[in-house]
Symmetry: C2
Subunit: 201 residues, 2 copies
DNA sequence: ACACACATGTAATTGGTTACATGATTTC
DNA sequence: GAAATCATGTAACCAATTACATGTGTGT
């Protein structure tokens, strides 16, 4: 039975920590797998309904503080089985699409400063994400190091950190290259003017 | 005017090399930006019609060998302007989705061999892609090093290579970790049995 | 004759984002 | 009392994949 990916993120998150509302599930997703996975409410709430109807999750009333109108869910045995079935299926790599690289690839059609701006944005974002991941790593080590899932979380985290560092390293050399090219272009134009002036004189 | 991304890939490809058919454009995309961008025919042909209607490209009859029924296109001044406008707009990073990492993150819910299989597949794919990119780099250096776009192509290529190497390095340590964990799990089960037998004796 | 690459297109479906609509609770 | 966060949901839209349908040219 082919289900959409949202199904499995939700099941997986509930398998790690039960009794979460749709709102909380989304927050947990952002805080744990957010750096390589995103989900929107427009996707989460309908999926939750479907999972409930299929018996993969059950509705549980909030234990302690019954705030607002709020529905918590837990994973069922059937849900766990469904998750485990999915886990063994070879992953399919989603068709790659990187608008940043695409703009860079066509960079010759733009002025030098355009690519420089893109790479700077890229660096900013990656630096910020690096800080976030380092914080996340610290928190995980403190609060979850005895959790059986911990080694796997560290695996994805170390992937993220390795990639981030590689990306930042690359971006430095890319920026250096673009800046020298810009400088060359800038010195060529005035040079051309000077030559023109020299010719006139 | 907001256009879909397919628009700009096509325009960009035609800006680099004119007089290509839809079929050729797709092939070119695969061979140049394929490692970070994909396009399907279901997307290309309708977009080509739209670009033609909007005057961003023009239909050109095949120059030399008029094979099959086949339509070549070239970019217009308006098309180039449209591409350039798009290039300066800050890139928006597409919401990240990596099924491989997601399965790894939930790895604790599966048997150790499951994650190992995923990582092995990951390694295979990345090694193959590394070879492809190295070949691509060689070809580009031979045939296009004097093209004004060359530095930008090398930028994306070096990004791909850096990432690939980082990914492969990570995958080695990930695999090592998973293998020791698997060995530990395998030696624990028999150990438990032995203890049980010892208790009986 | 057969297979493969060339070549173009359409239709169905899906997976997903975004915007909209609503309202309660907490905090300042 | 205003603002932020918590909380749930629906509807419109869209970009893109996939499968389907069709046919030609080339090489074996």
């Amino acid at each position: 039975m082919a289900r959409k990916q949202t199904t499995y993120v939700i099941l997986g998150i509930l398998a790690i920590h039960d009794n979460q509302s749709g709102y909380e599930i989304r927050k947990t997703i952002q805080q744990t797998v957010g750096f390589f996975w995103g989900e929107s409410f427009g996707q989460i709430y309908p999926t939750l309904k479907k999972l409930l109807a299929d018996g993969l999750i059950v509705a549980a009333s909030p234990g302690s503080a019954p705030k607002a109108r709020r529905q918590e869910y837990s994973i069922t045995a059937a849900g766990l089985a469904c998750l485990q079935e999915w886990l063994v299926i070879p992953y399919r790599d989603d068709p790659p699409r990187d608008e940043f690289l695409l703009k860079l690839f066509f960079g010759h059609e733009a002025t030098p400063s355009v690519c420089i701006a893109h790479v700077r944005k890229f660096q900013d974002q990656h630096r910020r994400l690096l800080n976030t991941l380092l914080e996340l790593e610290g928190l995980a080590r403190i609060h979850s190091s005895n959790n059986p899932g911990f080694p796997f979380w560290m695996l994805t985290l170390s992937y993220g950190l390795a990639r981030l560092r590689s990306d930042l390293e690359w971006s430095e050399s890319a920026l250096a290259m673009l800046l020298t090219q810009e400088a060359a272009a800038a010195s060529n134009a005035p040079l051309a003017k000077n030559e023109h002036a020299a010719n006139l004189a």
